[in-house]
């Protein structure tokens, strides 16, 4: 067992310090050390997107990031998506469109969709589908997920206009 390192991060707005071995992924640290279990493990090799978090403004698979790499990083997990005022528009449209069935892929899809809308507030259906390609869902056939993302974009449009 190699030496543990202390890592300083900001997670969902709060300063967080944790101890980890170099071989521990950010995913493992979030789930097993910090008990932020909203981030899910589906494949542990970057092919399903269930573990998506936003790190320093970039959408990443937390299974492909070492915990020690998070030094000084600012991280948003699913637990930080809603604000004290209420759900994020994507969370709301996912509920209204029944865009989840089992819900295991949902946190990853929400963070991925947030990263898309932050970058491209008015995506086409094709753009949504390609952006979400790294997030696998086995329940919905993606139909309602894509609609929920497009609807959230529409609603944000209406608010900002």
């Amino acid at each position: 067992m190699s030496t543990k390192t202390i890592v300083h991060t900001t997670i969902n707005g709060d300063p967080v310090e944790f101890l980890c071995e170099p071989r521990q992924s950010l995913l493992e640290v979030l789930r097993e050390t910090l008990l932020l279990t909203g981030t899910k493990e589906g494949c542990n090799n970057g092919n399903c997107g269930a573990c998506n978090v936003i790190m320093d403004g970039v959408l990443v698979n937390s299974c492909l990031v070492l915990g020690v790499e998070a030094e000084d990083a600012t991280i948003t997990t699913i637990e930080g998506l809603a604000s004290p005022d209420g759900l994020h528009p994507l969370q709301q449209t996912f509920l209204e469109h029944a865009a989840l069935q089992c819900g295991i892929c949902t946190p990853g899809f929400l963070l991925s969709a947030k990263a898309l809308l932050d970058r491209n507030p008015d995506p086409t259906e094709t753009e949504v589908r390609y952006w979400l390609a790294g997030n696998l869902c086995r329940c919905t056939g993606y139909d309602k997920i894509v609609r929920a993302v497009l609807d959230a974009a529409d609603r944000r449009d209406r608010v900002t206009r």
Binding site: C139, D143, K144
Partner: protein, 753 residues
């Protein structure tokens, strides 16, 4: 997508509306606790050692180095697992022999597939557990491997289980074999029927092993307490099925086993059998009664949790010029994996089910091969079967110059007809579903453009009622707490709560459903067989009726009238000119708490039919199939929450498309699974699919169900590969007779054409 708001239809107030699901907020905020999310004080982490060989005799296992590794708390092998005798065990969706289930949990004398569990370790963290697993030394004697079902049937094929004898139409064979069973359905005179036919089509088909592909890997936490009580927390389709398996496999009294189901990240039939839970329990006991968490890696999920069978199927059908089918014959060989129990029985029931037949013969074979033991996968066995039958039906229609929907209408089964496997059909909506596609704008609009084609196919599924227990208590504010035991995989808490709300005449939001474990509710069968909204819905209706009886008595007391005088309708209690709502009545107070429970076992779940239409474009240079448009009509009885009914159909279509186009287990000659990752096992991604138009056909409410509910979860996985094959044929002229219809295979077929 049918977005029409169909609440209030048939006078319903709640049924047919689209409320937000009760567990929704927890699932979009990350708060929902799934199986792998549980943390307990003193938690240890378990890991399984798996066979690197597809078929090998286990000569010795040395665990001493693993045990000596610091941080390791327990190591187990099959020697730690009680010996269990042969006993047939039903788990609702599947039937298995207990001894085989035990040997699939941990191999005893032989490993029968790549990934077969050999031993397991519990340690302070997962990395130490992994290191310890690598220190276990196993001496194997590799044995010849057989991967293909028809090869496994040949004389001289390697025998997987020496003691196995064929169950030959109910009689036991005398020789060692890989054929666990031969089943048969027969009616009329097949040869006479074929003699009558003007056209006969006969083809052979091959389908590959595919996996359910749920995104959440198998998981389980177990605490085997000092007092002998075993507590399991896991993601499962049925807590009671886990309880009974744990009790049987570990030979523990059922009263000593508690199973608490946590949220489940998809299952599709694959989370009925236990894999990790008994190992975690044994490790917990050996590690000094500390809780042990085990989760599979994705590679382990693909290698060793139940996929569904690959198969070989031959279908022969004959018809008159007028389109009437005169005879049909099918032979199905399904690969069970290392132990008996493929879904060939269901496949044999499905394969000719949509057709009215006087002359038929169906033979099915359950065959062992060196692949993981098959488990249920959404309408188990149905997709393979329909792929074969629907392609032959399509070819027959083409040979007769008939529209494929008209051909099916001419031969469609209806109420009163007998299914191929015997039972009489009740009122079904199959013909209405065929007509829904025939009249759909998609089907009416001709498909234009080169390399494009349209295909249709139909599917039948049995559906199931099953046993359910529920209870409820009425809160002082007139809301209702509902306790159920049916795992909610895709929104069933909503559809169950809505049926209770409808029965009580209150709002859906006023029912608070909760899924609880085996100590807190009466027995419930698994969520499977498309049963939950039907069967547990049936139970909450009975529960609502009981609550209404109590409420009538309250009203009678309030008004000082005879209870017979109190009528209830839509949540309003009345007698003479006096009336009061459910909530108002509760507010009047009750001397005794208002609670009730119900347990039901409805046996007449109506079967489901689906009719699908798909347009494809095939790249003539690469063989790649692009889906342009997909419409799926389904006989749904009554849609309780239409969004989640559509979701079941859309999800089933996506799985069927994956099965049809790209998903397959790829083995080398020694039986090593080569593509055990979500990169190489190619499930559809968002850009691989178009929107999927789900057409809900509500013309035939299921008789006997208070709201006419028909199970909707499974049948739409059945038609997609066949519909795609028929579309590819229209686009290219090629008949694809093997799944998956991946680009390289389609290209090869086009070149050879």
């Amino acid at each position: 997508m049918a977005m029409k708001e169909n609440g209030h239809k048939n006078g319903y107030r709640v049924i047919g509306t689209r409320p937000i699901r009760p567990d929704g907020v927890d699932k979009v905020t990350g708060r929902a606790v799934f199986g792998a999310d549980l943390h307990l004080p003193g938690l240890l982490y378990g890991k399984v050692l798996r066979s690197p060989h597809a078929h090998a005799r286990i000569l010795s296992i040395d665990t001493s180095a693993a045990e000596a590794l610091p941080g390791v708390k327990a190591v187990i092998t099959a020697a730690d697992l009680p010996q269990v005798a042969d006993k047939v065990k039903s788990l609702g969706e599947s039937v298995g022999n207990l001894r085989y289930m035990s040997e699939n949990t941990l191999a005893r004398e032989k490993a029968l597939y790549h990934g077969h569990p050999i031993a397991a370790v519990a340690a302070e963290n997962i990395h130490v557990a992994e290191e310890a697993v690598n220190l276990i030394e196993v001496e194997y004697e590799p044995l010849p491997v057989v991967l293909d079902g028809r090869e496994a049937m040949q004389p001289g094929a390697p025998i997987l289980i020496q003691g196995l004898r064929t169950d030959e139409l109910g009689k036991l064979g005398s020789e060692p074999t890989n054929v666990a069973a031969h089943i048969q359905h027969k009616r009329g005179d097949v040869e006479a029927g074929f003699a009558e036919a003007d056209v006969i089509i006969e083809r052979e088909f091959r389908t590959e092993t595919v996996h359910q592909g749920y995104i959440e890997p198998q998981n389980g936490v177990a605490l085997w307490n000092d007092d002998g009580h075993i507590h399991i927390w896991c993601s499962t389709q049925g807590a009671f099925a886990v309880r009974s398996q744990i009790s049987d496999l570990l030979r523990a009294p059922i009263s000593q086993v508690t199973v608490t189901p946590l949220e489940i990240g998809g299952a599709f039939g694959g989370k009925i059998n236990v894999y990790l839970e008994p190992l975690a329990a044994l490790l917990s006991r050996k590690a000094g009664h500390r809780p042990v968490k085990m989760t599979m890696t994705r590679a382990e999920v693909l290698k060793a949790s139940g996929p569904t069978s690959g198969s070989w199927i031959r279908v022969r059908m004959g018809a008159k010029k007028d389109g009437r089918i005169t005879a049909a014959q099918a032979e199905l060989v399904y690969e069970a994996g290392g132990f008996p129990g493929s879904p060939v029985g269901a496949g044999a029931g499905v394969i000719l089910a949509p057709y009215r037949l006087d002359n038929l013969q169906i033979d099915g074979y359950d065959v062992l091969v060196n692949r993981p033991k098959a488990s249920a996968y959404r309408a188990p066995g149905g997709t393979n079967a329909a792929y074969a039958a629907e392609a032959v039906a399509d070819e027959l229609a083409e040979a007769l110059g008939m529209d494929p929907i008209d051909f099916r209408l001419i031969n469609a089964v209806k109420e009163g007809d007998r299914r191929a496997d015997g039972p009489m059909l009740p009122r079904i909506g199959y013909i209405e579903t065929l007509q829904a596609i025939k009249n759909h704008p998609h089907y009416r609009q001709p498909l234009e453009g080169p390399h494009r084609g349209r295909g249709v196919a139909v599917g039948f599924w049995f559906n199931w009622g099953g046993k359910s227990s529920v209870s409820a208590s009425v809160n002082e504010d007139g809301t209702v707490n509902l306790v159920e035991g049916s795992t909610d995989i895709g929104g069933s808490r909503a559809s169950i709560a809505m049926q209770l709300a409808e029965t009580l005449g209150i709002a859906a939001e006023d029912v608070h459903p909760q899924v609880v474990g085996t100590d807190l509710v009466g027995y419930n069968d698994v969520t499977g067989g498309s049963r939950t909204t039907y069967g547990t819905g049936y139970a909450v209706h009975a529960l609502g009726v009981k609550l209404n009886e109590i409420m009538r008595e309250l009203a009678a007391d309030l008004w000082d009238v005879d209870v017979e005088e109190v009528r209830v309708e839509g949540g309003v209690f009345s007698a003479g000119d006096r009336s009061i709502t459910f909530k108002e009545l509760v507010a009047q107070g009750s001397d005794t708490p208002i609670t009730a429970s119900a347990a039901t076992h409805p046996k007449d779940a109506g079967p489901a039919f689906a009719v699908h239409c798909v347009d494809v474009e095939v790249d003539p240079e690469t063989g790649k199939v692009t889906i342009l448009r997909y419409t799926a009509a389904q006989d749904v009885g009554t849609a309780i929450h239409p969004s989640y009914v559509e979701g079941q159909i859309q999800g089933a279509v996506a799985q069927g498309v994956g099965w049809g186009l790209n998903e397959e287990y790829i083995y080398d000659e020694e039986g090593h699974l080569l593509n055990a990752s979500l990169l190489d096992y190619r499930m559809p991604t968002a850009p691989d699919l178009p929107m999927i138009d789900a057409v809900l056909v509500e013309e035939a409410p299921t008789p006997g169900h208070p709201f006419g509910v028909r199970g909707v979860g499974e049948v739409s996985i059945i038609p997609p590969p066949a519909a795609l094959a028929n579309a590819i044929h229209r686009a290219t002229g090629v008949r694809m007779t093997a799944l998956p219809m991946s680009p390289s295979r389609v290209m090869k077929a086009m070149i050879e054409h």
